[in-house]
């Protein structure tokens, strides 16, 4: 039982990371129906910006987090302006390949500028405090990851549900043309969506950097895929779905590695995804839409 709870605790911190990345995927998909394959690389960029802020600018964790999120958000807006906006009315596969091109560009640019080798975060970014509660070990880092993730998710939910901008975002997601007729500046709302999504991925990136202490230019690929799986699992385009999906995938992965074999954890995650898609193609929280002739 203790071991099980321990795995759940570990799974929660991994799940928070996936959930933060999945939120960006889901928001972008919800609003322009694009699988932003470069999103995993925004998370990688976040980790590198965080690395620069902490080791070179010698900032504390919290200001680094804010700077990282802002810088990545700006890059997210630029990517949308330059690469995705001209393709808004093209076919899915073309947009997808462009996103893959952006992903290659980010990975290789970072590798060129920062070097291909693994970079280490300083170990003392956060105090290494641990608590033992009923035999379960909880580290301060895990707690900070979970708290940061939850705070950001609450903030996001408030923005989307309670503010004027959030209402505009929801309107664009439902029908962009109708939203434009109602006086919403659709382009700005899409830019804002990219900014928020990128900022959340950046937060995940810096949290991972602090937690695992190592970052590299290709670190975004695997978590990016998993987060996408999480977004589809929860119902793509649905914000609470991404959170549930992220935590589910994170916890499942940790449980499988803990009780069985870490070699098969990815296969099981993909198997789970295919199963969910076949049983409920729109994801856990998605609504089934009838096909119209």
């Amino acid at each position: 039982m203790t071991q099980f709870l321990q795995q759940i605790v570990n799974g929660l911190s991994l799940g928070s990371i996936y959930a933060l990345i999945a939120l960006g995927y889901t928001m972008v998909y919800g609003i322009i129906k694009l699988i932003n394959f470069a999103h995993g690389d925004m998370y990688m960029l976040g980790a590198y910006f965080g690395f620069i802020a902490i080791t070179i600018l010698k900032l504390d964790f919290l200001p680094s987090l804010v700077i990282t999120m802002t810088a990545t958000a700006i890059i997210g807006i630029m990517i949308e302006r330059i690469a995705y906006r001209p393709l808004r009315h093209s076919t899915r596969v073309v947009a997808l390949i462009t996103a893959i091109g952006v992903s290659f560009l980010l990975q290789n640019s970072v590798a060129k500028i920062m070097g291909v080798s693994i970079k280490g975060f300083p170990m003392d970014t956060l105090p290494t405090q641990t608590w033992h509660i009923f035999g379960i070990v909880i580290t301060l880092k895990q707690l900070i990851i979970l708290v940061t993730a939850v705070v950001l998710m609450v903030l996001l939910t408030v923005i989307v549900q309670k503010t004027k901008v959030g209402r505009a975002m929801r309107a664009v997601a439902v029908d962009a043309d109708a939203a434009r007729l109602m006086g919403i500046n659709v382009d700005n709302i899409i830019s804002l969506t990219f900014a928020i999504g990128s900022a959340l991925a950046a937060a995940a990136g810096i949290l991972v950097g602090v937690y695992y202490n190592s970052i590299d230019p290709l670190m975004g690929i695997a978590p990016g895929l998993k987060a996408f799986v999480a977004a589809v699992f929860g119902g793509i385009g649905i914000i609470p779905g991404a959170m549930i999906g992220g935590f589910t995938i994170g916890i499942t992965e940790v449980l499988i590695s803990g009780y069985w074999s870490s070699m098969f954890k990815d296969a099981i995650v993909y198997g789970l995804l295919i199963f969910v898609l076949l049983v409920k193609p729109s994801g856990l929280l998605g609504k089934n839409r009838k096909e119209k002739v």
Binding site: R92, I100, A267, L273
Partner: protein, 323 residues
């Protein structure tokens, strides 16, 4: 269409192919096409076979697959393992047949349920299947786990790969023009309308899926015998994406485009080679620029044909994927 296949157009094609082959052999014997360029030519040939298979699935039937590398891996490993027991060209052929059988079986079992999905969901499900295949290979003893299989017989040569490319082109272009291919194109354009016209949508989707997967397994087998080494990491998502880029760059549904794009990308890669690590940055920028300025690909839906030589317009205009 004439019933007799030995008409003048067939003759023109045989002549074109023979001239092309003689040109390559001429360049090799004149020592212009050195070993390094020959190896690139082999890779281009393999890419053509892989991309023709994917084009059947994506460009003709309109089913978005991101798991092509998985089927390629099955073909590559089947050939590699068979070649350990049976030497020479018959070992390769046997390995390819075994690979094709396994691939067809898996593509059938996977395709039947998964092809009900549409668009992005199908893409992500096939991506999952590809990754599952790779992870299983990574964990099996017969495939030697992460170390992969080394010292596979090097049987690949220009004539061998050339022969298979020609075979693949003939088979896919006949597929496209057959009743089967026309049914697939109609599914691409409008699934509901095709169903209303009495086309068994699931059946044709699964058939083209199996067909494309078998071509991928052939490409994989040739890959194994060209590079003499296979490892699970070769067959990740990046490999599927490389093939997808060829298909889209050439023009979805255009087999001519696929062949041209495979050559163009192979040459671009060769020209960028001396640039070292800036190469990938330029490649990525080129990819984005091509998609923005030429989203239909090089050829659009155009097919080269001697019959079209009098500049007749292509008959089949393609719709968008699942929209």
């Amino acid at each position: 269409m004439e019933k007799n296949i030995f008409n003048k157009y067939t003759f023109y094609w045989i002549l074109t192919v023979a001239l092309f082959y003689l040109a390559i052999q001429g360049l090799i014997s004149a020592n212009i096409l050195r070993a390094y360029y020959q190896s690139i030519l082999l890779l281009i040939g393999i890419n053509i076979i892989l991309a023709l298979g994917l084009n059947l699935i994506i460009g003709i039937t309109g089913q978005f697959s991101l798991g092509h590398a998985g089927y390629m891996a099955i073909g590559a490993y089947s050939a590699a393992i068979t070649l350990k027991y049976v030497n020479g060209i018959q070992g390769l052929i046997l390995g390819m047949l075994i690979g094709a059988l396994i691939t067809a079986l898996i593509a059938f079992l996977v395709g039947l349920p998964v092809l009900r999905l549409k668009g992005d969901y199908l893409a992500i499900a096939t991506l999952g299947v590809g990754e599952i295949i790779r992870i299983i290979i990574l964990n099996l003893d017969i495939t030697n786990k992460a170390a992969g299989i080394n010292n596979i017989d090097r049987l690949a040569s220009i004539p061998l790969i050339f022969g298979f490319v020609i075979l693949a082109v003939i088979v896919t272009s006949n597929f496209k023009r057959s009743a089967l291919g026309r049914a697939c194109i109609s599914i691409f354009q409008d699934e509901i309308a095709s169903e209303a016209m009495g086309i068994n949508v699931t059946r044709y989707k699964v058939m083209s899926f199996i067909f494309g997967a078998i071509l991928a397994s052939f490409g994989g087998a040739l890959f194994a015998t060209t590079y003499s080494v296979v490892r699970p990491e070769f067959f990740g998502l990046n490999q599927s994406i490389d093939t997808l880029v060829i298909v889209v760059f050439g023009g979805m549904g255009s087999l001519t485009g696929t062949v041209v794009a495979a050559f163009a990308l192979g040459i671009i890669n060769l020209l960028l080679q001396p640039l070292g690590d800036t190469r990938m940055i330029l490649y990525a920028m080129a990819l984005i620029a091509i998609m923005i300025f030429r989203p239909k690909g090089l050829m659009g839906s155009f097919e080269a044909s001697w019959k079209n030589f009098k500049l007749r317009k292509p008959k089949l205009a393609h719709g968008k994927v699942n929209e």
